[in-house]
């Protein structure tokens, strides 16, 4: 059974999500969340959403202090993108957490609950505070 010592799990979360700012090892702060239209995997990035109103490259996100092998983000306020184009975003499937190194590194991936998510023209895709949970145990 896969398992990890809780204290080390917290260290991994802190490093790979740049919790609390920059780290000497791990992810380069800030990290960003990207939306994808295909499901990412552990070896292959998803296809990033390309649409009017979405910021290519993603949006900076911060995560709370890791505790119990888990953390959540965004902290502070929601992250959102509004479909300002004339056609629907037909399928938001996944998300990825990338850092902002000179050559950005993809650290985490997953899919949204209830995906694929359709965002009609004029509507907003929002990630509320703590809506993304990251667990390492």
């Amino acid at each position: 059974m896969a398992a990890i010592v809780q204290a080390q799990a917290n260290q991994i979360l802190t490093a790979t999500l740049a919790i609390g700012g920059s780290n000497t090892v791990g992810a380069t702060s800030p990290v960003k969340v990207k939306l994808t239209t295909t499901a990412p995997s552990n070896v292959t990035a998803g296809t990033e959403l390309s649409a009017t109103g979405y910021t290519a490259g993603g949006t900076a996100i911060t995560f709370a202090t890791a505790s119990g092998g888990s953390t959540s983000g965004p902290t502070g306020s929601a992250i959102s993108w509004t479909n300002s184009g004339g056609t629907a975003w037909t399928g938001i499937v996944g998300l990825e957490i990338w850092d902002t190194a000179g050559t950005p590194i993809r650290w985490w991936y997953g899919t949204w609950s209830g995906q694929p998510i359709v965002i009609a023209a004029g509507n907003t895709f929002s990630v509320s505070t703590s809506a993304i949970t990251v667990t390492a145990t």
């Binding site: 997953g110 609950s113 209830g114 509507n123 907003t124 949970t133 990251v134 667990t135």
Partner: protein
């Protein structure tokens, strides 16, 4: 790291101006404790 259950739908709210906001959630799990991993060796 795991995918989400398909039945867990995001919440949609009306903005009062004819538009809506979809509130998405996700769980990224590094390791699933299934107890079925293959042993190396």
């Amino acid at each position: 790291m795991s995918e989400q259950p398909e039945g867990d739908q995001p919440v949609t709210t009306d903005n009062g101006d004819g538009t809506q906001t979809v509130h998405a959630t996700a769980v990224l799990q590094a390791a699933a404790a299934t107890g079925n991993e293959e042993e190396n060796g």
